[in-house]
Every structure is written in C-alpha cells, then in structure tokens.
Symmetry: C2
C-alpha cells in the first residue's frame, strides 16, 4: 500500500475527475479500487489537496444533501461535496500529463544505465 505524493496525487485526482464529477470519499475509493489496493490517498492528504484544487480554480464544488428513504425529514442527512473539473482544470490536466511523460522519460534514462536495472542489457 503506497502513499501517493503531491504531484502524483494531483495527477491521479485530476484524471479521475476528468471522467466525471465525484466527491472525496468516492475519489479515495476509486484510487484504492482501480489500483488494486496499491495506492491510498488518506483523508488527511486528500481534503487539503481538494481544497487547494478548488482554491486554484481547477475544480468547482457543490453540496448534495443525501437523505435516506425512511429518514427523519428534519434531519440534515449525509452531506456530499461534489467536485467538477473546470475548463482551467482540464487544461491543467493536459499540461500535467505532458509533464508526467517528459519526467518519466528522463527518469527512465537514469534508471536504465544502472546495473540494477533488470531490463538493462549490461
């Protein structure tokens, strides 16, 4: 179970939101599920990140009151904060994907020359 660091967190969260709007808990579950439990994004890292995305205008948010079928009509119900990728967010994601590719390619160059690299010829 690997913890995602900021750069990767942002890339992955933006990628998840690119499919469609979602909310914190669902994003966190999506990351755990789609990575077969390999990645986790803890609430203590996720919420500050989502807040930052909102502050930077990469996502817009709205609250949903999820009331159960037989719930007390006066109860507040469960609150869900939806995050929607903004046009700025879409552009940012495209930029980050490109950056990610370049970064990968160069890091792979360093790794490739290491004798520890199982895929290296020497």
């Amino acid at each position: 179970m690997l913890t995602l660091k900021q750069d990767h967190s942002e890339l992955v969260v933006l990628s998840v939101l690119a499919i469609g709007p979602s909310y914190g808990y669902a994003i966190s579950k999506a990351i755990a599920t789609q990575s077969d439990g390999y990645f986790k994004l803890l609430p203590s890292a996720m919420y500050p990140l989502l807040t930052k995305l909102e502050k930077n205008g990469l996502v817009t948010t709205s609250w949903e009151e999820v009331k159960a079928a037989g719930a007390d009509p006066d109860s507040t119900g469960r609150r869900r904060k939806w995050y929607t990728l903004s046009p700025k967010g879409h552009k940012q994601l495209a930029r980050r994907i490109e950056l990610h590719r370049q970064t990968q390619s160069i890091i792979d160059g360093f790794v490739a020359q290491a004798p520890e690299n199982q895929l290296a010829s020497g």
Copy 2:
C-alpha cells in the same frame, strides 16, 4: 527546469551512484547534464538527501583533498566528499526500480482513461 522530489531524487541519485562513486557537486551536474537541463537538484535538497543516504547505510563516504598543482603546500585545498553505493544501497536501488515500475504502470492506468490523454483512443 523541474525540481526533483524526494522519491525521484533518491532513485536518480542512487542510479547515478550505481555507475560508480561520485561526489555532491558532480552528482548535481550529472543530473542537470544528463537531463538536458530538465532536472535540477539544489544543494539545499541534495546535501540533506546524501546525509540521509549515509545515515541509512546506503552509501559509504570518504574525503578527498584536492590540491592544485601550484597550490600552497600548507593550504587545506578543496575538499571533496565521495559517495560510494554500499551493498545495502544496491539492494535498495533494485527494490526502488521495481517499485518505480509498478507505480508508473498504475499511474499510467489512471492517466490513460482521462480524455485529456493525447494517446487515448477516445
């Protein structure tokens, strides 16, 4: 000019040291040169990192006194701290390369499904 974050810094520095012993300034130059100026590892990030590698037993160190040809025989000369990858460091590098590959593969999975992904079919 991208700044390397801790995980990547460690992977890249270990990869550089896997070729052979080196010292701080040379490592920093190697990273800048081999990445065509794309990556930088600032002294303020590099020296704490190298110290940590030493503390964790991944590298061993030794000082070299580099005296110039016509230098004052009593001068201390320029000091160079050499870093050599230890057996533990070699194992750690192999583990990190494997981890890096897995991480890449999963992140690519998330990125691949984003409509922003230029390489995606949709």
